[in-house]
Symmetry: C2
Subunit: 354 residues, 2 copies
């Protein structure tokens, strides 16, 4: 397969982790006989510094022309700590999502046996947890009309969803469930919210097209409890923007290491892959950043294009590296490897023809 991949390393540890992912993707291309073409572009603080724009026109154009975007991380303290800053690095990410029409955010959460010790949950609760959250990303209350009355005495936010917005999410989530354990949980608040009732009605109707997938429903308050009490019950979770924001962040901490969590943001024409962690500026250039979340994002990229065997090869390599403790300092306190060494090890595992 030929793929044109835009690489947006961004700020902080972004460049050094993205470099490992590119290395891994190149090893995959070699072994499985694909042709991946990489092109770098500026985004975030790096782009503001040079061009006074967190998302330069050329970057957006490159992303649109590419099959996929591999994104590092964004954000720099010199902008965070300046309340007068008119352009902020984070705007680059929001504009990119909007510019590429990325309406679905996909976040897998998996408990690695080796890391259960680091989880805030007891081992018997978290062992075996393996879920993926499909969060609607461009609708709902975050993007609705919002206003304050002229006297400043009252404020309003409007939450709207259309059948079309819900349908395209539902199809993505059902298709994912078909390839996993065939269980889809819609999280809503249908006992109270009109938008939730539309979600439930629409998703139920679409569910008939996926008869193998078992569909169930959970109110968001209950879902927030179940995520702690019994996270292994979940396979694919589908939910609207704000509930997805809350639940996916809650889910991100139960596994014990945020340095391993990948994500995809998917639209009709484009798709972007990035670790869920930030730019971690204090760690920049020290070789201590964990590249695995970025590398697993690259695995999601492969999966997105149907390269299932290739994605499996990457994920298996990661699992082996964790088992063997070939890990950065966040996971391996005593005898840790550098960012680059972890990347090299994974590259080596993938290149090895078995």
């Amino acid at each position: 397969m030929k793929l044109k991949i835009a690489v947006l390393p961004g700020d902080g540890i972004g460049p050094e982790i993205t470099q490992q992912s590119v290395k891994v993707l190149k090893a995959v291309a070699d072994r499985f006989d694909h042709h991946f073409q990489f092109e770098d572009a500026l985004v975030g603080a790096a782009a503001i510094d040079l061009l006074d724009n967190p998302l330069p026109e050329a970057t957006l154009e490159l992303c649109k022309k590419s099959d996929a975007v591999l994104f590092g991380a964004i954000g720099h303290p010199k902008y965070d700590n300046n309340p007068d800053a008119k352009v902020r690095p984070e705007q680059g990410l929001l504009q990119l999502r909007k510019g590429l029409g990325l309406f679905a955010n996909i976040r897998p959460v998996k408990a690695y046996d080796k890391l259960i010790e680091q989880s805030p949950l007891k081992a018997d609760r978290i062992a075996g947890a393996d879920m993926v959250i499909y969060r609607e990303l461009t609708g709902g209350i975050y993007f609705g009309d919002k206003f304050t009355t002229e006297d400043g005495q009252s404020a309003t936010d409007v939450c709207t969803y259309s059948v079309e917005e819900i349908s395209r999410m539902a199809h993505l989530a059902f298709k994912a469930a078909e390839k996993r354990s065939k269980k889809l949980t819609l999280v809503d608040k249908a006992n109270v919210l009109e938008t939730s009732r539309l979600w439930r009605k629409t998703v139920t109707a679409i569910g008939k097209e996926y008869p193998e997938v078992e569909l169930d429903f959970l109110f968001v308050d209950n879902a927030a409890m179940q995520m702690i009490l019994n996270p292994t019950q979940f396979d694919v979770i589908l939910t609207e923007n704000m509930f997805g924001d809350i639940l996916s962040d809650e889910a991100s901490v139960i596994g014990g290491s945020i340095g391993l969590l990948a994500s995809a943001s998917v639209g009709k024409e484009n798709a972007m892959f990035e670790p869920i962690h930030g730019s971690y500026p204090q760690a920049t250039g020290k070789g201590i950043a964990n590249p695995v979340a970025s590398i697993l994002s690259a695995a999601m990229l492969l999966e997105h294009f149907g390269l299932v065997e290739e994605a499996e090869a990457v994920k298996k390599a990661v699992e082996l590296s964790i088992k063997l403790n070939v890990c950065t300092i966040d996971i391996n306190k005593d005898n840790h490897y550098t960012t680059e060494k972890v990347g090299d090890f994974l590259e080596g595992l993938i290149s090895e023809v078995d």
Copy 2:
């Protein structure tokens, strides 16, 4: 002090647990020389069965005339499992909250050392957690306009908050923080929502009247993570209706036993006290229901009227009973006490003049 207390036992285990609370309150009245007058009234399925109304007029009248309402639990499977049922027991509770103008829901969450084993969180995370959540109960998106377009293609929910609604909540929460560890965390999503920005602005302004209380802010998605990662950081949490629904349910499971969690719902003129658990119909009449959540709700009632020493006496008795394992089967598996025996034991501890 003279208090007129309306007792609404409700359904399922409601009557048997409420009976223990009344017993405990009578012991408090005796020991501290108060005069508490109790009057029972019907609510929920029990009221539907007799009067075809989950909240009979006479019940609401009694509650309005009383100083406080002691509420048991509501809900019965014969209505839950009947989708055609036009009146549902739960409507009794909603109508009661509305009829009494109860705008604040208050939920303490405390990790008892003895129960840490039962918590889904690891001991080092949960030990020492002791917080109280102030949730706005009658505003926001749950009570805003909601509609679906005529073609059924789009649905909307509106979230509105006024300065007045926010202010009365803020004063309650700041006053609570003054009496506790003097730390108040406002949970919002002020980086996105207009209503959240009004919350932040209003609460910040009111904070100047409470200079001893340290005020900080947390986005709701981050709060959902912090509740698992580090729950001991919280003292008083203040938040709007929907965020409060999600967070207080999430918080309710970290302590390890829902059978211990009390709540208060407070308005300008009235206040109601109830366990957070449901009517648990399968346990009805078996003597296995844990009365402690209801008894701790009675302690909140005492606190609400400034009877701090009295409330402490109840809470200390509960702590001792847990330490001594004088507990129902949900907590003491091997050698459990009945609902009534636990009530008797607590009554005895309180009556004992030291």
